[in-house]
């Protein structure tokens, strides 16, 4: 059975029409996943558990659930009960959570079948896919290029068609950037719309649970299953976006689109023209498209603010990784040496360097100079975005202006005046906006996405706009074939 090109909705129809059954589908997915183990995209396959759950789901079939029998991977920074969860870090090797992340429990309740854990840049830090402790993950369409990260394994598995969806987490652009590089859909919902309970933290004031799918309608389905207030997460928020699958086609013609002129003009010529052509098409379809202003000094500070805030939060939230209570312990003469050695041996280079910058910002003398300042500028960024969303409903942003870079290119700096473009997706983490990347342009097998944002807590509107743009652009359900 070749299931790989099928969307969640198509799989659902075949399952309820009994053209395929859950057990057969699960076994097929496991077989396909086994074939690509050398890609490093998978940290763990849970063959036996998945098959047992598939049998259980089949017996108590809840065919009203669109996720009944649908296989998926969870990024390995989601706690999964009785299944090793390492966040692709050596220090967490052997850690078996006694509980599920809320989002995992919700998917289980809907009958979705977890088949394994997807690799990531260690502890969610990296943005490239080169920092998993188990080895690098490359772009499925071209192994000389990056897949993007930190949700690299999840992006790889969805792009290859191994599963129709996978969970991800997005602190700066960890879902939306790899979605762009892999011709798939990646959504970071509003901050707090999906519970963070059980998501291993990187930077709690920015971290957001989200997903990869291969079309926008499927994204609405997984969001319907996982959105909701959770008392276990103090930053969880009630979100009025409900029944998004049913309402996905309902975008009002009164919705106003907008873009920041300098941002679009700074793109390379071909990509810039593609954006302006798309704006013309939107106008022909009866939508208003407006230029909006955004202070350049704030855009230029995005990378620094991200580093100041996220690195500081990361060193603090990961202080519990000490080799004492769980994970790997190194030897040492006393507890200080044991902890220091466990952390030194357990963390990769990128993580340790981020911790050091975090410690620098948290140092008594620097807290006011750097960290407090960063938080003040964060407010200015949010206020600027509030102004934008008073003028328009949907802000269009380029997630990248090129296809996935070659691995060796990742160390080359872009021109300073255009550097801000590579960090622009972090805007939505600072203000908690829903933000989705969908496929936009193609160069051979490789893609360049487009990113769509709505004001915080307007997730339904964001998905409706994405669906309408997906219909105009006409690229969806793509997989990278062998």
């Amino acid at each position: 059975m070749d299931y790989k090109k099928l969307s969640i909705l198509e799989l659902h129809e075949k399952l309820i029409n009994k053209e395929i059954n859950v057990l057969e589908l699960t076994k097929n997915v496991l077989a396909e996943a086994n074939k690509i183990k050398s890609s490093n995209a998978i940290n763990k396959l849970i063959d036996e558990k998945a098959i047992n759950f598939a049998k259980e789901v089949e017996t108590n079939s809840n065919i009203n659930s669109l996720l009944y029998g649908i296989p998926y991977f969870a990024k390995d920074n989601f706690a999964t009960k009785d299944i090793e969860t390492t966040s692709s870090s050596n220090i967490l090797k052997g850690y078996i959570p006694p509980f599920n992340a809320t989002s995992i429990s919700k998917l289980e309740k809907q009958g979705a079948i977890l088949v394994g854990k997807a690799a990531l840049d260690e502890l969610g830090m990296g943005g490239v896919g080169l920092y998993s402790c188990n080895g690098i993950i490359t772009n499925p369409a071209d192994d000389k290029r990056i897949v993007g990260g930190s949700s690299s394994g999840s992006a790889y598995l969805v792009a290859k068609g191994i599963v129709p969806f996978a969970t991800g987490s997005d602190t700066g652009d960890s879902i939306r950037k790899p979605a762009s590089f892999n011709n798939i859909v990646g959504f970071k919902p509003s901050y707090g719309a999906i519970s963070r309970y059980g998501l291993l933290p990187y930077s709690p004031s920015l971290d957001t649970v989200g997903f990869f799918t291969r079309n926008v309608t499927d994204m609405a389905i997984v969001c319907d299953a996982t959105f909701g207030y959770d008392t276990k997460d103090a930053t969880s928020h009630e979100n009025n976006s409900k029944n998004m699958f049913e309402k996905i086609e309902g975008l009002s013609k009164a919705v106003k689109f907008g873009y920041i002129k300098k941002v679009i003009d700074d793109l390379n010529e071909d990509v810039k023209n593609a954006y302006y052509n798309l704006f013309e098409t939107l106008k022909l379809n009866g939508f208003e498209v407006k230029e909006v202003e955004f202070k350049q000094e704030l855009l230029d500070s995005l990378s620094a603010i991200y580093k100041m805030i996220s690195f500081s939060e990361s060193v603090s939230t990961n202080a519990n990784l000490d080799g004492i209570k769980f994970g790997r312990r190194a030897t040492g003469a006393d507890y200080v040496e044991i902890i220091t050695n466990s952390r030194t041996e357990g963390f990769g280079e990128e993580v340790k360097q981020r911790f050091l910058v975090g410690a620098l910002n948290l140092n008594k003398e620097n807290q006011t100079i750097y960290l407090n300042k960063a938080k003040q500028v964060r407010r200015l960024i949010v206020e600027e975005l509030n102004k934008v969303f008073k003028e328009i409903d949907i802000l269009i942003i380029p997630p990248t202006d090129k296809i996935a870079p070659l691995i060796e290119e990742t160390k080359i700096k872009s021109t300073p005046e255009k550097e801000y473009l590579s960090d622009i997706l972090t805007l939505a983490n600072f203000n908690g906006s829903p933000s989705i990347t969908i496929p936009f342009l193609k160069e051979g097998k490789l893609g360049i996405g487009i990113n769509i944002n709505a004001k915080p807590k307007e997730d339904l509107l964001c998905l409706q706009a994405a669906k309408m743009l997906e219909d105009i652009i006409g690229i969806k359900n793509e997989i990278v074939e062998d």
Binding site: A234, E297, R329, G332, Y335, L356
Partner: protein, 95 residues
């Protein structure tokens, strides 16, 4: 420009050790980082309150007593590298 010793102390604060070579690389990168942070420092933030989360309405609250979660002690201890009886163990602190 801070010296190597400063970064070694920072490493100690975060309970990490760096090799001589790693520290040298970090010190070399600090200049780039300082320039990047300068972009933030020059922005006027007079009378701007810091923002800790995306929204201002996030606050801590007291949970209702009826929401309790317990984790099986056996599972907790099974995750520890070493344990004895009801305790996670480590090298003796007082000898």
């Amino acid at each position: 420009m801070k010296d190597k010793k400063y970064y070694e102390e920072l490493a100690q604060d975060s309970m990490l050790k760096f090799t001589e070579k790693e520290i040298d690389e970090i010190v070399a990168k600090q200049e780039d980082l300082r320039k990047e942070f300068e972009k933030v420092l020059k922005i006027d933030t007079t009378n701007v309150k810091p923002l800790f989360y995306p929204y201002d309405d996030i606050h801590t609250y007291l949970r209702d007593d009826n929401e309790t979660t317990t984790i099986d002690q056996k599972k907790i201890l099974a995750n520890a590298p070493t344990c004895e009886g009801d305790f996670v163990t480590i090298k003796k602190v007082v000898k």
